[in-house]
């Protein structure tokens, strides 16, 4: 009997692999054709994270909040920095950063972790990093709810209609994250060093991005960095994709700190030109990541 399948049943495989365009088409077909599999993997992933801790999935919300608290204490009590409505200032950037960091963290080991499966069942391996990254989207959605609550209850002075830009900014970040995830998950199969290194690189990246500081105000926070790095260093910092992303998040949620550093202008629309350019770059990264992943994919079962 012929059973209905979601994947082509008869196949012909040879040493000849399709070109770059063919690989991208293949990856797209696999991702959409196997969306049910991706859904199963996502729900397993969420279940796994929720089940081994006492508070379960509440940690999704608590985690960025606690991290915000740590920086709040560190910066305002120990370093005596005063930024108006500092909790919101921090949370607006820490939440999306957390999303990025844990997505990459999960994606790096997503392929390697399924070693047994890859050696025994034929399935498109792209679904692994894709589902790892997609599972974290829920994380962010919960975080956004907290953001809205914070705005409504504690910081109504910052709230504007510009908050509606959030999904757009998140979409750009998603494309960027997915591209990077495909890249690192494939390379990690061959060099396990990538997994170890990425944690540290991401931490460094965090401090180089305007998460606990911003480009806005000269009063104490950005001035020191400017001095230390010089003109060239600063323009390099501005070219960082997360400089664009985190600034955009902060623009729409918090607004801007004024020059003197003692006041703020409420939420405003993000820099759309910078975002647009970043989107183009992210799509480029996604294409590159897909091609490299698909190129390396046939070797996974042999190397693992």
């Amino acid at each position: 009997m012929q059973i209905a399948t979601e994947a082509p049943s008869s196949f012909r495989s040879s040493a000849v692999r399709p070109g770059a365009l063919g690989l991208i088409r293949e990856a797209l077909a696999e991702t959409f054709g196997r969306r049910r599999l991706i859904r199963h993997l996502i729900s397993a992933d969420i279940r796994r994270k929720g089940s081994d801790t006492l508070l379960g999935n509440v940690w999704w919300v608590l985690d960025p909040l606690l991290q915000m608290t740590v920086y709040l204490i560190l910066l305002s009590v120990i370093l005596r920095r005063s930024t108006p409505d500092f909790p919101l200032f921090l949370f607006a950037a820490i939440l999306p950063w957390k999303w990025f960091a844990s997505s990459i963290n999960d994606a790096v080991s997503s392929v390697v972790r399924q070693e047994r499966l890859i050696k025994q069942v034929q399935f498109p391996k792209v679904v692994l990093p894709v589902s790892a990254v997609a599972a974290e989207v829920l994380n962010l959605a919960f975080g956004f709810v907290i953001v809205l609550l914070m705005l409504a209850v504690f910081f109504p002075a910052h709230a504007t209609i510009n908050v509606l830009w959030l999904p757009v900014i998140a979409a750009v970040q998603f494309v960027f994250t997915l591209g990077l995830a495909l890249l690192v998950s494939a390379i990690n199969v061959f060099y396990r060093d990538v997994g170890i290194l990425s944690g540290h690189l991401i931490r460094l990246w965090f401090f180089l991005s305007p998460a606990i500081w911003s480009f806005d105000s000269s009063a104490g926070r950005f001035g020191a960095i400017e001095e230390a790095l010089g003109e060239a260093g600063v323009s390099l910092l501005r070219a960082n994709p997360f400089a664009v992303l985190l600034t955009a998040y902060r623009d729409v949620i918090y607004g801007r700190v004024n020059e003197a550093g003692d006041g703020f202008t409420p939420g405003q629309s993000p820099d759309l030109i910078a975002l647009g350019m970043l989107l183009l770059l992210s799509i480029g990264l996604l294409i590159l990541g897909t091609i490299i992943f698909k190129r390396l994919e046939p070797a996974f079962a042999k190397v693992l």
């Binding site: 009997m1 012929q2 059973i3 209905a4 399948t5 979601e6 994947a7 049943s9 008869s10 196949f11 012909r12 495989s13 040879s14 040493a15 692999r17 196997r34 049910r36 599999l37 199963h40 993997l41 729900s43 397993a44 279940r47 796994r48 089940s51 047994r116 499966l117 890859i118 050696k119 025994q120 069942v121 034929q122 399935f123 061959f190 060099y191 396990r192 060093d193 046939p298 070797a299 079962a301 042999k302 190397v303 693992l304």
Partner: protein, 299 residues
Amino acid sequence: MPSGFAIQTRDLGVRYSLRFTKKTSIRRSFARLLKRNRGEKSFWALRGLSITVAPGESVGIIGPNGAGKSTLLQVLAGIIMPSEGIVEVNGHVSTLLHLQAGFDQELSGRENIMLAGALMGIDHKVMEERQESIVDFADIGAFIDAPLRTYSSGMRAKLGFSIATAVDPDILLLDEVLQTGDEAFREKSHQRIADVLGAAKAVVLVSHDMSWITEFCNRAILLERGSIVADGKPDEVVATHMEHSEHRKQKYREVLEGMRSGRIAVRGRPKQLVREAERTGRQIPAIAPEDEREPLARP
């Protein structure tokens, strides 16, 4: 099936790179770069394999360890891409390689059934229809709704077997994974395997148990060092295999004897020495003439 074969391979070769293994790190790669060309970089697990399996055939693959049997199954399943040549498979393939491979510890038995179905690419509706019969066959009671981490290994094996055999494929690839569960389940599963084998249009089976080959197959292929040595009636091929392995055992004994008496000047495990010699085609450095022999210091 439109064309006249279920599986066809033409000049199939699979090469493994020795550069990258599970444990490569950047450090090792640098080390390798520095001393280029030292040691072999790759080896062929399979080479020049042309096999055609017609519908209705049930082919047993036998051979010594490391002959490439499992690699062949992986290529036929589409898990590994050939390094050269072509593989064509006509029909839906199912492997019983993966009795428990896709299981997730946190999902319940039922959810794992659906996950396995999705992994194999089977339509969601079909899988929903079959769920009950899979649950019935596994026969693990209320545990079916509990997370998999609460299962005993026996229960896991039962569930795995039930899922793997529930999809009736056109082409069935079997690695010897069939001894699972308790006595009663084993009997039940033996019957199920016979049923599945009967229903499939073509079967490729790898086993070290020669009775499986002679019982279930109507053709056998003997693989040695990645190429076909014999292909034909199961009885005859099994006989050839027995002969060859007897010959190999004889060699081991000789080498072991030689090492004990000091006639063989290399150290190592006899099996490895013999295999190495077979692979490279070189003689084992000497079973040297009596008068030149130099006893090895016994450790």
